[in-house]
Amino acid sequence: MTSTPADLGALARMTPAGPVDLPLVAVALRAGVEAAASVDPDWLSEVDCRRAAARQAAVAAGRGAALEAALHDALVAATGAAGLDDDGRVASGARLWLLSGAIASALSGAEPDPFRAWATLLAAGWWPIGPSGGRLVVSTL
């Protein structure tokens, strides 16, 4: 179930790689997967770096076991869906990528937490995709 946070626009612009000031569009899953194919590569690798850093920081802070336990809960919720096609797997993989980054970031105690705004969107059932084709794209599932 997707619910729409009142501050969807503000949350979406606070991406894990920093603020993105582009026109916001919300699209359905199919269009989201298409937009996802041309997400800004620099933005993508910045999120990847921050995700990897958050995981390292969580382990360094002695929260490795907590990370494993929290990932477990996230996985049960997220990977249970059998019979996904490739597009469904891309969307689910993207959300898991953000979610695992958000869990690690929260456990590492990072302040400000770069993943917090998008974690709120994920929890509300959105798939925030990123900057693509001059727009900032979010999708409903």
Binding site: A37, L71, G93, A94, G130
Partner: protein, 236 residues
């Protein structure tokens, strides 16, 4: 292999314990090796591959695969704890995890070849006498098939690229060597016990030969590359 083969079905942990320690130990060895190796694979290969992926689609599929492998680890761990086994005890992981992953090309070849080895093992366990194990691998096999087909599809694309084909061949040569020991020694007291209790049906050499057949057909028939000569026997 000595003694008659057990032909019954074992419904749950209590029934396994009723059969005796040897049965619980046999199932336990198989289950705990999966607990370790699914986690080792996710940590050594799938999580790092997320950072090596060339584009967003590949990155997120790699993440989905990493999470699925991690999920396999958790599901085997639950099976082990139901049996009252200690999975925290240190144990060997397989030699294939010594392979150092440095490129996306290696990752896709790894999914095509090494996950096929996992599929062979799981297909054997899909007839295991211990029903909770049988049920689990039947549920996990579609995900392992997806990992293999993901690797095969990308390996086909890369093998058709003149700039990549040499790297694909190199990855095949390296990974086949690392995977041969995956199935265990040709002479194996453990495997004898697994078969006597109906946990496995195949000898280690039979499983290895099935893997070589599938992978050589893929590498030579579909990639148009050379599959290294493999001795189906392995004595460590």
């Amino acid at each position: 292999m000595s003694g008659p083969t057990f032909a019954g079905e074992v419904a749950d942990a209590a029934a396994a314990h009723a059969l005796g320690t040897e049965y619980v130990q046999a199932v336990g060895k198989v289950v705990t090796s999966h607990v370790r190796n699914e986690l080792a694979g996710a940590t050594a290969f799938d999580e790092p591959a997320i950072g090596l992926a060339p584009g967003p689609r590949e990155k997120w599929l790699a993440c989905r695969i990493a999470m699925e492998e991690y999920g396999h680890h958790l599901k085997f761990a639950r099976l082990a704890s139901d049996l009252g086994l200690d999975t925290a005890a240190p144990g060997r992981t397989l030699s294939v995890f010594d392979f150092e992953l440095t490129s996306w090309t290696e990752f896709v070849v790894l999914k095509a070849l090494v996950d096929e080895a996992e599929v062979v093992l799981m297909e054997d366990l899909a007839a295991a006498s211990y029903l909770p194990l049988r049920d689990l691998v039947v549920r996990l096999l579609p995900e392992e098939h997806f990992h293999v087909s993901f690797g095969q599809a990308r390996a086909r694309e890369l093998a058709a690229d003149p700039a990549q084909v040499g790297l694909v061949q190199q990855a095949v040569d390296d990974l086949v060597g690392f995977t041969v020991p995956f199935f265990g020694r040709s002479v194996s007291a453990n495997n004898d016990t697994f078969r006597r209790w109906g946990v496995k049906r195949w000898t280690n050499d039979e499983a290895r030969a099935a893997w070589v057949r599938r992978c050589s057909r893929f590498v030579e028939g579909e990639l148009g590359l050379r599959f290294p000569t493999v001795d189906r026997h392995w004595d460590g």
